[in-house]
Subunit: 346 residues, 2 copies
DNA sequence: ATTAATTTATATTTCTTGACATTTATTTGT
DNA sequence: ACAAATAAATGTCAAGAAATATAAATTAAT
């Protein structure tokens, strides 16, 4: 491949002149300018960015560490990251930890996992990335990023343990509040909830959203209408049984899988979703659009999380201060996705 | 961040000595060795790989161009790529074209698309990637990569138009043959097919697989049992109607979505999948595992495609010749995924 | 001739590595 | 025991590509 040296020689001018022309600097006649530009085209010249980076002490590259590419949330977040970063002419260096494959779904208990992340961060820093975005597979507190990194780090879809590392997360409280409010607006007075595992942040926040809306609508919170699931379809089926006995007209399942379990139970009872019983889910997994009837649910702002995390990252790289510098947490709005599983009974 | 120069100064030795020690070369006493290593630890020294790359004329990085991260096939392919490349200590530079968002599902007609890809290839080459892997969202002939690139390129999940660019694709003929053979083995004699759009390579190859197995089992091919769908659930529903009238006992739908349409039709007729009617799909989309009953289907070897494409890439980078150099196409085996939608009627 | 506008040559910068040169320490031969 | 030979340890410098500053040289215009 042609270097600037070769190009200069072919044009019969000096390296400095070529450099000036290529970088749109003054100090070159129109004639030489044209000659050099044409020759560059002809030789298919591309500047060696690696050499430029070394000199300029800027690589315009960002390391992205993804916990596992094959988990459904991650690709959309990365899509958001590439969306913004590519607009800003930053290059993504991708590291896929493949955690779920390596540690068989129990990665957050393993010490190896901490060590692995630290190694990968070091590798990326050796490659002179200007910052690191960590993309979690699901929302939780992530403790593996050292908070004394000499370059900025941003957490996408997880909470960092340190103030120094800003986090971009889902506004689960708002999302749950939104869909429960929708259920109430459709005339449902007795709304059951199927929670996820109650030790998860998702489940806790979504429950708060539920309680919040009840309170705002002056409906007394009844713990008897809260059934504890574990995110699986089977648990949805089981909890639906409990709740239906209590005479609820609508069920809010904290994810689409458990909502599917509600469908199973209702079907078994020869009743119809969207008629006798209304159901709402959460997450907008692909399959929920194919339920019968299609599930009304909340779509996670995955793309926006990636986009926002990148905005923050580049803001930090430009030496800017983050908007809400005190908290350093940004909760991104969810979108209510109205389909056919909720009946208007007003 | 500390450079080797700083580290050398702190230790009171020369840069070369530090370099030797850090690279485990002879020519340093145990005493200096210990001193330097400790000081490196203390200063949190990391070598500047960018400078090393410039000197060594090797970047150990590979550009990956993905058509659209949010299409279901792509993340698994990239997972396969990272699996192999990270083992081999190659860094992935990711470029997400976001084609489906930019050109609204019609990208392959647009001239802009060619120009975009060329630009992105150029950008990656400026960053001195040693090779480029192009990841297509679905299998077809990809014409946008120039075949006079000065660095190797490999096509994942698509056919290149040039012999110089090897392609790794799905063995659709084998996959279809496998699942149709399974249907025959279960005693089904009259197996209907719902094709995808017939101008797609997927649909054509899967039909060949179907015909091949019939021939091997000395069953006459009846074009009347082939219904033309368009990959959508609705078309599956429509075609199922046609085929059921002709008295088939099993239907092979060329994707899981259309298989879902068959479920819809059978349900409407108050019959049961896996009892009166057997159904097989293709692709193993996430939702197919949640059908009632779970769908027997063919899982695409997406991870393996990415893995194989990387193997070939690194083989090329090491100056090796590809196994089947004549063809330069590798068709990766699919896996038959037996669930509950096919009844044994032998 | 003088000034202004181009252009060039040269040196420096970034950091790491490797070939080569030099210094210091140790062993061998007489 | 002392010079010579060898080995080990360490230092010096250039290369690698591009950018840039500076000073010097050339050309063109006034």
């Amino acid at each position: 491949m042609a270097t600037i040296k070769v190009l200069a020689k072919c044009c019969g001018v000096s390296v400095a002149t070529v450099s000036n022309i290529l970088n749109n600097k003054p100090g070159a006649s129109a004639k030489t300018r044209k000659l050099v530009l044409e020759m560059a085209e002809q030789l298919n010249y591309t500047p060696n960015i690696v050499a430029k980076n070394l000199k300029m002490q800027k690589t315009r590259s960002i390391g992205v560490i993804a916990e596992d590419m094959t988990i459904f949330s991650i690709p959309d977040i990365i899509d958001g990251i590439t969306d913004y970063c590519q607009k800003q002419e930053y290059q993504i260096l991708l590291t896929n930890l493949r955690l779920f494959k390596k540690y068989n779904d129990t990665y957050y208990n393993k010490d190896d996992y901490y060590e692995l992340v630290r190694q990968e961060i070091k590798k990326l820093m050796e490659k002179q990335v200007e910052g690191i975005i960590y993309v979690a597979a699901h929302e939780r507190v992530i403790r593996c990023i050292p908070d004394n990194l000499p370059i900025p780090a941003v957490m996408a879809y997880g909470y960092s343990k340190s103030r120094k590392i800003p986090s971009v997360v889902v506004d689960d409280v708002g999302g749950a509040a939104g869909i429960v409010k929708y259920l109430l607006d459709q005339g449902h007075k007795k709304v059951g909830v199927i929670t996820g595992k109650t030790d998860s942040l998702h489940a806790q926040a979504r429950l708060i959203g539920y309680q919040q809306v009840l309170y705002q609508n002056k409906i007394l919170y009844d713990p008897g209408l809260v059934a504890e699931g574990d995110w699986t379809r089977e648990s949805g089926y089981r909890c639906a049984g409990e709740l239906l006995e209590k005479g609820v007209s609508a069920i809010f399942a904290m994810n689409d899988l458990m909502a599917g379990g509600v469908y199973d139970r209702v079907e078994e009872l020869k009743q119809t979703i969207g008629e006798e019983i209304s159901v709402a889910g959460y997450d907008d997994r692909e399959l929920s659009g194919y339920y019968h009837p299609p599930l009304t649910t909340v779509s996670l702002p995955l793309h926006d999380i990636g986009y926002k995390a990148s905005e923050w990252m580049i803001e930090l790289l430009n030496g800017g201060e983050l908007e809400n510098a005190g908290e350093n947490v940004c909760a991104v709005d969810c979108m209510l996705l109205i389909r056919k599983s909720v009946k208007d009974i007003t």
